[in-house]
Symmetry: C2
Subunit: 361 residues, 2 copies
DNA sequence: TTGAAAGCGCTAACAG
DNA sequence: CTGTTAGCGCTTTCAA
């Protein structure tokens, strides 16, 4: 009768039914709030359940109903504030619908991502929100979809795949960034991203339906528009590790004709690029201009405050969740949250000095 | 036979068994890698499983074995880089043991936390890692423990509760912070934290086994040691919202005898306090000195670089996971990762100027 | 090494 | 309204 005894075995519907002196079905109905139950039975069952410390077993419930109350979220790097915030949006939105979030971090590694999706599917999550690390290798997502699981893509889309995708269109903002830099006098503009690709970037390379594709394209369009020569070699991808990023920065900054401006693909990249710049004793914006994507609080507090492209990350998370819930047959507000990116000019961009375009500074 | 058909119903052990022409039990044994199975049956079953695209149903598996392969993690604010990084540590560590992470964000709200624990328990997670928002209201955790679920506390302990707790001891570091500030000449030292307490802080208040308790205590001890008068009214807790934080800063900075130094309890608080300081046009460290807990990359990049107390957040996450795994009967490395905090002096602390101790600046 | 059968805790027909 | 009876997909005795 003591607590020790309860801890041995969790009370079940059958136990409650017995204690309440009703049938298992009635107890289940009372507990589950479905079907028809008399007042009397209801209170009897409630009391019994309370006395036994009954907790419904979600596993068994999902098992019999075939409906799970958890969704899987697969991201590349939870340490990145971008995903932290998006996750919060997702979390807040699905909570109201009664779902819980199973999170997997993939370290931006495709094999991990495939394994994660597999594992989540085996856990029979109701649906999946995935920020895919590749825009091309997505057979695991297609197959999940084919097996009847709801899948929503986050940040990155896949061409020709009928998957709901939540991402902001960076076309305008990216063009603006390009123009800003060009208007300010820059001609050698670097871009650093952790996006994984098979080879070094070259003009016309297919980056899939990714933010990076939009952003690089925006820069290129600005160059075309201005009739200037663009050097695609300054686009550095695959900066997934500290070393890789250091190498990219070296190629950008330590050459005869260095970049005079660098665009950082996210706040984590920005943090590291800033470190590299500092290490070299370069001043911003005198020696090098910097623009970063994602507007987190610290970008405004550093000296100089960073010119950034803000995006509504939290709302993106919520939208992804809503898209998924919709697929799962839930009612969610019809109006979409507007997902727009916008440039915020602060003080990290200025005209390149003559000296910065010369070697040996 | 087509994919469309498979998508209707997932293949089960029974299906595989039938296709392989063996009994359900044998198929299950072959698939699950337990029990005795002949070479022949094994290959037959493997082939059949492959052909049907069989995926084991984790739900059913957990259901029958009573063992779950997921653990619950409950944190106050996933947006806080502190938890993001810790979560990564947890995630990395449990992955190897075959567990997945169910994450719940509580917004530092006790009711949410209680509900989260309840929900996770109903989901029959194998164990729980909780960063409790209160050091006192912890009956839900005790009860989880009493019901035989493994619980590990993160960051904050509970006095008199036999729960594994992973937290770093801030006694030394906090004393050092106090000494540094006192030695530099500060006498009015503010402290800002988002920890929830029932009333305003006053000397001797029990803050539980929390980092904040350690840190405030360290400051007080430094004062005692120096024989100086400490003003406990400068300890501002409950700064959970932007408004609350703004109010705390106002009380600290906009009074006749303002604080000349402020200690920030975590990086999120620091970000906001820095914003408040900037808004007032105060210079760091000339007008006000700043020390923050948690050493994230941006703290070194701002101007001036922040003097901080670093803590091994990622390893704390890993240790929490290990403690839990241990409780769950897994073999994990016996040696503990050292969890030490240390002061990193940078440039945000200097002697208070006379003017800053005078009103009307 | 195999197979039949009995559950795990719950819901969902189907009769009363 | 209530109770009986099947399962959900898997593991696990228990015999063969």
């Amino acid at each position: 009768m003591t607590k020790r005894e309860q801890s041995a075995k969790e009370a079940t519907v059958a136990d409650v039914a017995r204690a309440a002196g009703v049938s298992k079905a009635q107890a289940a109905r009372a507990l589950g709030g479905y079907g028809a139950v008399s007042e009397q039975v209801l209170s009897l069952v409630i009391a019994a359940a309370e006395g036994l410390g009954y907790r419904p077993n979600q596993l068994a419930k999902s098992m019999t109903t075939g409906r799970s109350n958890s969704i899987g979220v697969v991201v590349g790097d939870i340490e990145n504030a971008h995903f932290g915030l998006a996750l919060r949006g997702i979390s807040d939105e699905v909570r109201d619908a009664g779902y819980t979030v199973v999170l997997v971090n993939t370290d931006e590694d495709l094999a991990n991502e495939v394994a994660a999706v597999q594992e989540l599917l085996q856990q029979r999550v109701a649906g999946l929100i995935v920020a895919p690390c590749s825009s091309t290798d997505t057979s695991h997502l297609e197959s999940a979809q084919a097996h009847g699981r709801a899948v929503v893509l986050f940040d990155r889309g896949v061409r020709g795949l009928a998957l709901d995708t939540v991402r902001v269109d960076f076309a305008d903002a990216a063009l603006e960034v390009g123009r800003l830099l060009l208007d300010t006098g820059h001609r050698r503009i670097g871009y650093v991203s952790s996006q994984r690709v098979k080879a070094a970037y070259q003009r016309g390379m297919d980056l899939g339906l990714s933010p990076v594709a939009d952003r690089v394209d925006g820069i290129e369009r600005a160059f075309t528009e201005a009739g200037s020569e663009w050097d695609p070699a300054l686009v550095k991808l695959n900066a997934t590790s500290d070393d890789a990023l250091a190498a990219a920065c070296a190629e950008l900054l330590d050459q005869a004709e260095p970049a005079t401006a660098v665009v950082c693909s996210d706040s984590l990249i920005a943090l590291r690029v800033l470190g590299q710049i500092k290490r070299r004793g370069l001043r911003i914006p005198e020696d090098i201009s910097v623009v970063a994507y994602d507007d987190f609080a610290w970008t405004e507090l550093i000296e100089p405050p960073l010119t950034v492209v803000a995006q509504p990350v939290y709302d993106m998370g919520r939208e992804a969740a809503r898209a998924l819930l919709r697929r799962l047959g839930h009612r969610v507000p019809a109006e979409q949250l507007p997902l727009r990116a916008h440039l915020i000019e602060r003080a990290s961009v200025s005209a390149p000095t003559v000296s910065s375009t010369l070697p040996g500074r």
